[in-house]
């Protein structure tokens, strides 16, 4: 069976959920061979094997952390040459998209970004994309070379499928460009203890209607009652009430949870671009005319400072 390269997104050996989704999708078109780079690369093997990786190619050279993007492109190219895969799948993070595109150009192949599904087709994998702020669904193929496809988080349900996951060292020769952009400092993001925004099953977001940084505690309390991640509109982020890393939308994160709860958010097109593919959408807004209500499965017209705390209280009671 054809092999499919899967680029592993991990932090010091801890594999992020979107990579496990990729392994599930990869099994539809071939046998997944994972490529894990950087500090802790080999520690990813057990998790990857559990989810179907027949092989795990690893390299933990310091170049991956010390220079931007290109060393990882060099490594993925080395893996591509070693394996001759039928496709290369990469998570749709900002960095991984850049890696995917540069790899595609080098290997003379087309690149598709932000797929939300992949199926085997007569002439290679067919990707589904959700475009124009999720108002259109397109089906796209790569017509030249080995398809390089990036896939959005929450595009497939993770399935366990134990495989060998044999670890092999990947031999990488870095290109002249590899050391072009130095990483001179790095500040890790502090963990909030809440689920990762793009991976969460439930996202609770607040917007301008929250009216102040301190008031975000109302949104956080609801999130915590549901075990959810917290999101924010750009208006709330620009006002300095919540960090940019939590922004949902075109220039923030794109989320696709089972449940999205928007409070005090009007539903501008750029916000919708980041949440419109959520399975169930709920909104609380005091303006009955707010465009967000066009999207909702359930909406409450009311003051969020009345509705949200009551909701949180009721959830706590029901959960006992």
């Amino acid at each position: 069976m054809a092999e499919v390269l899967v680029y592993v997104d991990h932090v010091d050996g801890a594999v992020r959920k979107p990579t496990l989704e990729l392994l599930t999708l990869a099994r539809r078109i071939g046998e997944p061979v994972a490529v894990a780079l950087g500090n802790g690369a080999a520690d990813t093997a057990a998790t990857l094997a559990e989810h179907g990786a027949v092989k795990v190619l690893t390299d933990d050279a310091s170049e991956y952390a010390d220079y931007l993007v290109v060393p990882k492109v060099d490594a993925l190219q080395a893996a591509y040459e070693a394996v001759s895969p039928a496709a290369v799948l990469v998570p749709s993070s900002a960095e991984a998209k850049e890696i995917a595109a540069r790899l595609a150009l080098r290997i003379g192949a087309g690149v598709i970004t932000d797929a939300v599904d992949i199926e085997a087709g007569d002439s290679g994998p067919v990707a589904t994309q959700s475009v124009f702020a999720a108002s259109y669904t397109t089906r796209t193929r790569v017509s030249k070379g080995t398809p390089v496809i990036t896939v959005k988080p929450n595009s497939a349900a993770v399935e366990a499928a134990p495989a060998a996951g044999a670890v092999e060292a990947l031999s990488v020769t870095f290109s002249a460009q590899a050391t072009g952009t130095k990483v001179t400092g790095r500040t890790p993001r502090e963990s909030t203890g809440r689920p990762e925004l793009t991976e969460a099953a439930i996202v609770v977001s607040g917007g301008r209607g929250v009216n102040g940084a301190e008031n975000f505690s109302v949104i956080e309390a609801l999130a915590d009652s549901l075990g959810a991640a917290v999101g924010a509109s750009r208006a709330a982020v620009d006002a300095g009430w919540y960090p940019h890393t939590n922004q949902v939308g075109q220039t923030g994160k794109s989320v696709s949870p089972q449940l999205y709860i928007a409070s005090g958010i009007s539903g501008a097109i750029q916000h919708r671009a980041g949440m419109q593919t959520s399975k169930t959408i709920v909104a609380v807004n005091k303006d009955a005319e707010a465009p967000i209500f066009d999207l909702v499965d359930y909406g409450v017209v009311g003051d969020l400072f009345e509705v949200v705390p009551q909701l949180t209280e009721e959830i706590r009671t029901r959960k006992g």
């Binding site: 931007l68 900002a94 690149v111 970004t113 108002s135 089906r139 130095k182 993001r189 409450v300 959960k319």
Partner: protein, 261 residues
């Protein structure tokens, strides 16, 4: 020493209008207003600020697109860029990302550059890959997705806020930079700027000027193929209730019914 900055700007259909695909599955540009991709305004802004810090700098704005794409160039010129290049050719219709990067890279080389500044992503394709592709083609460092950028003594520095960390980056010129909408509000063109823009030079180049063959670009030269595009069915109207004191409880009931609680 003069600093030559090329800003790449895209002309896109207005996101607040009704965007559609044409019969050949490319973007329908006839039925919707176009404009300078809002995220490229941030690129123009940062280029203007970098130029202001340099002894002597010249900003060229570059677009690849149809006739109307001149509007995007005019906007950038009215913000303060010095001159413009418009790459326009019927054979470009339907070019994919890899093809677009070829055209941009050749045009940037022809224009001459020390620094390329791009937006983080277009507001239509939203791939966010062109700056990396252009850097790969030019063989120069990519310093991308910056929320803060500065240039001094032939070195570009910036801050990139990623998922797991915030990174400080540094590269020698020539380099390709892309900036996010966190990099600083873009200025509005002044009346004076708008008047001055009318007199600024706009060059038009076609594929032969860039020594690109027609079959390397366009729909035919594209390495990706769109098989179908379907409008997403409208969501079925949801339940909307007015809060009369029980709104939170009613919502909890809905969530419980759908097994979220």
């Amino acid at each position: 020493m003069s600093l030559r900055i090329v800003v790449t700007v895209k002309y896109v259909p207005d996101a607040t209008g009704d965007r559609h695909f044409a019969e050949d599955l490319t973007v329908d540009r006839d039925d919707v207003d176009g404009l300078l991709s809002e995220l490229d305004e941030y690129a123009v802004e940062q280029a203007l600020q970098i130029a202001a810090e340099a002894d002597d700098a010249e900003i060229t704005v570059l677009t690849v697109g149809p006739e109307d794409a001149k509007d995007a160039l005019r906007k950038a010129l009215s913000m303060g860029a010095d001159k413009a290049v418009h790459v326009e050719d019927d054979d470009l219709h339907g070019t994919d990302a890899i093809g677009t990067s070829l055209v941009l890279a050749k045009a940037i080389e022809k224009a001459g550059y020390d620094l390329v500044v791009s937006g983080m992503a277009s507001t239509d394709g939203t791939m966010g890959v062109l700056p990396a592709l252009v850097a790969e083609r030019l063989g120069v460092p990519q310093v991308t997705l910056l929320s803060e950028v500065s240039v001094a003594d032939g070195v570009v520095k910036g801050r990139r806020d990623g998922d797991s960390a915030s990174e400080q980056l540094e590269a020698s010129l020539p380099a390709v930079v892309s900036v996010t909408d966190q990099s600083g509000e873009a200025r509005y063109p002044s009346f004076k700027g708008i008047m001055a823009a009318k007199k600024k030079p706009v060059e038009s180049w076609d594929l032969s000027d860039l020594r690109i063959e027609a079959d390397e670009v366009g729909l035919a030269g594209s390495w990706t193929a769109v098989d179908s595009a379907a409008e997403r069915p409208a969501r079925t109207a949801g339940t909307i209730v007015k809060d009369e004191g029980e709104g939170g409880k009613q919502l909890a009931g809905f969530l419980a019914e759908h097994k979220f609680v």
